[in-house]
């Protein structure tokens, strides 16, 4: 059976090594460990640099149809995964439905309808960004949450002149990395989002 060519001892040794490795938990190799450490160091160094800038704006960055958008974090109550939303009949198309966030019933607005962006299917991966002030509180549908960033105010430029209408109204500005900063205060104050309709 080809015993001359096939080294059974080698096989046994390898299997034993794998067994020991699994028993003792995950052990990254030397090269891998170094790479991870280097990456963290670089990140920390970068944060230092940003801290040096005086006037910054803390924004939560999220994706809407592959476009990057940001909302100032002090308007945001929290971000929440979209579970079990309830569609609401008799409301405009931009109102996706209602969700229950720890006992509070909130409506969810799909900004893509406002911005004429291509619609995508709704899944569990979708997230809801809950914004609010003293009078209003509702959720904004996001395809994915990318994280919190501190952006220098000086880096924010005016919106491009091609944007008009409702998009222009809600915009705060655009950064060099094509991050669109939305003005949450205006969105909260805008009457168009309020649904006031007798049926």
């Amino acid at each position: 059976m080809g015993t001359g060519r096939f080294d059974w001892d080698e096989i046994h040794r390898k299997i034993d090594a794998v067994g020991v490795a699994i028993d003792s938990g995950y052990a990254p190799t030397e090269i891998e460990r170094r790479r991870i450490l280097q990456r963290r160091a670089a990140q920390l160094a970068h944060e230092e640099e940003k801290e040096a800038v005086a006037d910054t704006l803390e924004v939560v960055e999220f994706l809407l149809a592959h476009e990057h958008y940001g909302i100032e974090s002090h308007h945001i109550r929290e971000v929440y995964p979209l579970h079990d939303y309830t569609p609401l009949p008799g409301v405009p198309a931009f109102v996706l439905g209602l969700i229950n966030v720890r006992g509070r019933i909130l409506s969810v607005v799909d900004l893509k309808k406002f911005f004429d962006l291509p619609a995508r299917g709704i899944s569990d991966l979708n997230k809801v960004i809950i914004i609010g002030n003293e009078t209003m509180e509702f959720g904004i549908l996001a395809d994915a949450i990318l994280g919190v960033q501190a952006i220098a105010v000086s880096a924010i430029g005016p919106p491009p002149p091609t944007l008009t209408g409702i998009r222009e109204e809600f915009l705060h500005g655009v950064t060099g990395e094509r991050l669109v900063i939305l003005d949450a205060a205006r969105i909260l104050a805008d009457g168009k989002i309020m649904v006031h309709q007798d049926i």
């Binding site: 991870i36 974090s73 971000v79 929440y80 997230k127 919190v148």
Partner: protein, 622 residues
């Protein structure tokens, strides 16, 4: 009359009947003319002869009556009566005058009668004059004088008138009688003429009819009689030839030709009937059915005769092909040929066999004679040989025993081989089972990797939730302002960890995919090994079977060797008996030699007979 005979029959009939019609017309004309003449003479007879006599009778009667009235006038005294009578007399007188006029007219051209008539008229005038005197006397009442006058003068006058009238009437009657007699004579003459002409016409008609019958019906009847005889098969009829140009003539000629043709055919038939096939038949035309049939028949018979001749000369190869099943002669010939051919062939074969057998027998008997003496020598040699065989049988008995022992040893070795093969099969089957276990283990591993995949899904979910948690933490930190800065860093770290977890799970998932592929390959390999092992099992089983058969063969060989040993023993005993038998054979051989001499002579005779028969048969061609 030749031209009439040559006319067409239609024309002949037309002319004959036309002639008869002309005769009839002549007869009718004559009859008509005669009748007309008789009628005319009758009329003149009445006018000229009977009318005057009748008028004279009337005249006489009127005269008598007038005279009677005159007498009555004299008798009576009554004036009125006298006047009435006188008027009557005047009337009668007028009637008489009219009658006289008619008579005068009818008597024109007859002087004798006219003279008499003039006398009558004169006498009548005298009478009337006296009568007028008498009437005058009566009116003067002198009746007696009137009567005297009457008695003296008037009576004579009256009688004279009467006499004259009677004479005239008689002469008229006499003349009329003469005329009637003349007319009768004439009528008789006419009827005689008519009868004569009728007889003539009748005679002519009969002549024409007879002539027509002779020139048309007679030849036809002759032909009919001849045709009747031909129909009854008698062809010895003589048709009188003529040179007539009409239908009858051509019919006669054609009929004569036909008879001649039939007679020729009959003569040919007679020739053929007596077997003379040399006659030649020439068909009159293509449509000559009988002639063509005769040509075919003579051809057919000649062909058959030729075939028969060839057969009689012994040539049986002549071909005969029947036209149909009803071609009796050809069929008979064909079957005769077939049968004769078969018989001849059988005969020839038999004779050949006989001849060759005879010669063979001759040769054989000669050889037997020679062989017999050789046999005697051989028998002696055989006896010696039998002794040698006896020795050989002894040797083979011993040898076969040795073979039998060897074969038993071989059988034991074969049994061992069989056991070894069955062990080999067990070993291979064990390998097969192990391979199946390996395959099952690999499959189990594959299933467990699936469980790992599920765990990884949970880990991914956790990473996502951690990510979200990190974002919320960052938000809270930013709300806390300056105090939350440290917390923001922690939140960032948590997010980073979550991202890493996500990447790690991706890697694990990839590795799991590789493991899955490897598992598939292992299972495939195990399956191939399993199949190879099955093949091994089959081959081993076959070699086991071969070994078993070998063992059987060896066993049979051992048995055979044993039997050979026994047979050799029996052979030995048999050889003794053979030696005794050989002596008997020697004596029998001597007697055989004598018998063979006689057989040789008989074979000679048989051989000669065979040669003769062969010669006879060879003359026939098949």
């Amino acid at each position: 009359m030749k031209w009439f005979v040559d006319l067409a029959t239609r024309t002949k009939l037309f002319l004959s009947f036309g002639l008869m019609i002309v005769f009839m017309l002549v007869v009718i004309a004559v009859a008509y003319l005669g009748l007309t003449a008789v009628h005319r003479s009758q009329e003149s007879l009445f006018q000229d002869d009977f009318l005057p006599s009748i008028e004279l009778l009337k005249l006489r009667s009127s005269q008598n009556r007038a005279h009677a009235q005159l007498l009555e006038m004299m008798m009576t005294r009554d004036r009125a009566r006298q006047q009435e009578l006188e008027r009557d007399i005047v009337t009668r007188t007028r009637e008489v005058d009219e009658g006289l006029k008619l008579v005068a007219a009818s008597l024109q051209g007859r002087p004798r009668e006219l003279q008499k008539f003039d006398e009558l008229v004169a006498a009548l005038a005298d009478y009337r004059r006296v009568r007028d005197q008498q009437i005058a006397l009566i009116y003067e009442d002198k009746s007696l004088e009137a009567q005297n006058l009457d008695a003296t003068v008037q009576d004579k006058m009256y009688n004279r008138v009467r006499t004259l009238a009677v004479d005239l009437g008689n002469s008229a009657i006499v003349q009329a009688k003469e005329r009637v007699a003349a007319e009768n004579a004439r009528a008789k003459r006419l009827s005689q003429t008519f009868i004569g002409i009728s007889i003539l016409v009748f005679a002519l008609s009969v002549v024409v009819a007879l002539y027509l019958s002779r020139i048309i019906a007679q030849p036809l009847r002759e032909i009919t009689i001849a045709a009747d005889r031909i129909a009854s098969g008698d062809l010895e009829v003589a048709i009188r030839g003529n040179d007539r140009q009409d239908e009858v003539g051509s019919l006669t000629k054609t009929f004569a030709t036909m008879v001649r043709y039939l007679q020729e055919m009959a003569a040919i038939s007679r020739h053929i009937a007596v077997g003379d096939l040399t006659v030649t038949v020439k068909p009159v035309s293509d449509r000559d059915v009988l002639g063509n049939a005769f040509v075919d028949m003579t051809g057919y018979l000649r062909e058959m005769a030729a075939v028969a001749k060839q057969i009689s000369e012994g040539d049986l190869t002549v071909p005969v092909k029947p036209e149909s099943d009803r071609d009796i002669l050809r069929n008979a010939f064909a079957s005769m040929l077939t049968i004769r051919r078969r018989i001849t062939k059988d005969l020839s074969d038999g004779i050949n066999v006989l001849a060759s057998s005879a010669s063979e027998i001759l040769a054989s008997t000669t050889q037997i004679a020679a062989g017999m003496s050789e046999t005697a020598a051989s028998v002696t040699e055989t006896t010696a040989t039998v002794e040698q065989i006896k020795q050989t049988a002894l040797l083979s008995s011993k040898k076969s025993r040795g073979v039998s022992e060897n074969a038993q040893n071989s059988a034991q070795v074969a049994e061992q081989g069989k056991a070894t093969v069955s062990e080999t099969i067990d070993g291979i089957n064990h390998i097969k089972e192990l391979m199946e276990t390996v395959a099952e283990s690999v499959v189990m591993l594959s299933e467990q990797t699936q469980a790992i995949g599920e765990i990884i899904t949970v880990v991914t979910d956790l990473a996502q939730q951690s990510n979200l948690l990190a974002v919320n933490a960052a938000i809270e930190a930013s709300k806390a302002g300056e105090h939350g800065k440290g917390f923001a860093v922690v939140a960032q770290e948590i997010k980073s960890l979550a991202d890493q977890s996500k990447q790690a799970t991706e890697q694990v998932r990839k590795i799991l995919g590789d493991i899955q592929k490897a598992t598939g390959r292992s299972v495939l390999a195990a399956e191939q090994v399993s199949k190879a092992v099955e093949g091994g099992v089959k081959q081993t089983a076959e070699s086991g079977e071969s070994i078993r058969k070998l063992a059987e063969s060896i066993g049979e060989a051992a048995q055979a060797a044993e039997q050979i040993a026994v047979s050799s023993q029996q052979q030995l005993a048999g050889m003794e008996q053979v030696a005794i038998a050989m002596e008997n054979i020697k004596q029998a051989t001597h007697q055989n030699v004598l018998g063979t001499k006689q057989a040789e002579q008989a074979a000679h005779t048989l051989n000669d007979l065979g040669q003769k028969l062969q010669e006879m048969v060879s003359r026939t061609k098949i």
